[in-house]
Symmetry: C2
Subunit: 204 residues, 2 copies
């Protein structure tokens, strides 16, 4: 096997471990997520996972990075016609796909990983990287809209931070309150009180 082949095979294995982690996390939740549970989804031995990742924490930090890659791909929306449509599409993915059961399980597991971040620097570092990438994507869309005259001039980074914090809070409410109307209202008011204010009236 050549060096290049070996690198490719290791990368395939890592991808397969990440897919297995994703499935195990959705099925068992964070608290019951063991290396053994991941190995069962992986259909290979626990030893094969330990060869690549020493600890569950190390594996989960890598998993956050893997999610970032998947998530970033879903957020690019280069085919959407213009910044308003791209903004809507991004908001739909971030807050509003949560009704899909698979996304709900994933967001539940993510919330549990996030709740460990105050105690674990590698989780905080990777969450910060994920946040920054998504924030940058949102800023690009807002800036493009300002330049193209469809959005009012505003501090796009601060707006992006407000929007992302609101959507994070909305997702957490949706997962942790009995009353799911709260999250639905958050979506509506974010749209009417914040996003709507950004749009420039046509012909102005």
């Amino acid at each position: 096997m050549s060096g290049a082949e070996r690198t490719e095979r290791a990368s395939d294995t890592r991808a397969a471990i990440m897919d297995a982690t994703y499935r195990a996390l959705c099925e068992h939740g964070y608290a019951d997520l063991t290396m053994q549970a991941i190995a069962e989804e992986f259909e290979k031995s626990k030893a094969a996972i330990h060869y690549h990742y020493d600890t569950k924490d190390e594996l989960l930090a890598a998993f956050l990075e893997y999610l970032l890659d998947r998530f970033a791909d879903r957020l690019r929306f280069e085919d959407e016609p213009g910044p308003e449509a791209r903004l809507d599409a991004i908001l739909d993915v971030l807050l509003f796909d949560i009704d899909a059961d698979a996304d709900r399980e994933l967001h539940t597991a993510l919330l549990e990983i996030r709740a460990q971040a105050p105690h674990r620097a590698p989780f905080r570092e990777q969450l910060t990287e994920n946040h920054t990438l998504i924030e940058d994507l949102l800023v690009d869309v807002l800036e493009e809209g300002i330049e193209g005259g469809v959005f009012e001039n505003h501090e796009s980074r601060e707006t992006a931070r407000l929007v992302l914090a609101t959507m994070l809070g909305g997702r957490v409410y949706d997962l942790t309150l009995e009353d799911r109307d709260v999250a639905a209202d958050v979506r509506d008011v974010l749209e009417s009180a914040v996003i709507e204010e950004l749009r420039r009236p046509e012909g102005e």
Copy 2:
């Protein structure tokens, strides 16, 4: 001992257990919170705690209720002069006291309890009750401001939900990202983009 005395003593014991839970939670975090750790703070036996609460989950659901009572007391601000000052005071407590170390530890532990809520109905029920009480307090302040002519007319419940979701997201960012500027910006933009829009210009 009379029946009334017995009831009072049981209520004192419960309050002492709650105080011990608070201290143990701040010190150990949720994951390492055991009945034994709480008993050590309580300075009585684990059996005394089990007499009142069968399981850690039951105790933690009671703890959420106890926090609600404490929190609600901090949010009433009946002495503040008028709805604008009361709104500011509420926002300060909810998002911005987090710099105090004790509040940071508490919010960290609360985030961990919250992350278990998707799996535990008693936590969701109590979190919903906590949310509703705080939302109602905020709605009262906003309504009072509308009636008094200091806030523009608006859907106060929807606004309260937006504000609370944004502050929850801001708190979570503050605890889980490396970059604490994100949460600071969320605070500033919430003020300028949402709260400021509610205020009615003087003399209008």
